[in-house]
Symmetry: C2
Subunit: 174 residues, 2 copies
Amino acid sequence: MDIRTRLISTAERLFDRYGFTATGMDRLTQAAGISSRTLYKHVGSKNGLMAAVLGERDRRFHRLMTVDSVDALFASLETWIDQEGARGCLFLRAWGETGGDVPEIAEAMARHKQRLQERIDEIVVAEIGRRDDELAEALLLLFEGATHAAAYSGSAAIAGARRAARRLITDARA
Amino acid sequence: MDIRTRLISTAERLFDRYGFTATGMDRLTQAAGISSRTLYKHVGSKNGLMAAVLGERDRRFHRLMTVDSVDALFASLETWIDQEGARGCLFLRAWGETGGDVPEIAEAMARHKQRLQERIDEIVVAEIGRRDDELAEALLLLFEGATHAAAYSGSAAIAGARRAARRLITDARA
DNA sequence: GCATGGGTAAAATGATCGTTTTACATTGAG
DNA sequence: CTCAATGTAAAACGATCATTTTACCCATGC
């Protein structure tokens, strides 16, 4: 496996499991099996590594969320959480741990959320044949809620969000 | 003001603004205007301080959320966020930053979320005159979603959640 | 009038932080 | 053959981490 890929996926796992600030560079280099010199050649700094991790995660996340129905959307979320675990949105966590003060990280968060919003807009059009900003907003909130409630309620949160979403879609169709 | 109260409210502000791990004890003692010796006499350790902060926040939060309608619930959430800012749920953030490995913190998070669930159960009964677990779950998800989406969408997220909640209540009454 | 409890300031603890540096090994291309 | 790139290991950097210790101040109550 490519060294940069290994570094970033290792970092993603450790950041998610232990938190960003609590995960030191020594632990990172040791887990990835690379020297600290190589790490800094590749990502420049810890903030650079965090931003790179978020960038990769965003691509992987949106590849999985490219669907055209709410049922499929929440099914994908369930798959995601089965694979990744549920510790809350990693973008919000990175943003919060850095106090919103690191531009690269704040931008990665904003970009990720904007893309999510756009994806849901598209799903709404596919579902009811027209734009409906109010419905899209509600679905985003249910998605966000499920992501975080899954941390303490498990996958029941996702099933609940899916049911509520379907109900709102049905209402909007009428 | 009582020294312990000042310590805990200062810590809450700094933890929320800069993150738990990123906030050092020096910064804390300096901001609270107390010596480190006194801090440790009062809360024992940094984890103890974090748990104490969450305990106080839980009391304050639930005092504000003691209402009997969804409209009032989301109005209270808006008040809360106006006062406290929107950086995501501080309980989930503390839990995430510590990897879920600190019992006192994991328990504070679980307790807080369980109480929120119970409060929403009560509101559902007040609204439609009977228990409805599915509706209550949906409202919790909207609440959780609004809490986190407010970090990047501001108070529009709360207004949106309130509208969706009202719609679900109307449906459930029929 | 003096002990005691609760506070202060400041230094010391040893560990760990993110980052840079020094010195060396391997390897593929011109 | 050799140069340049890319990697390693390991030490050093100064800063900061959470926590403890030492030494002192000052009030309140017996």
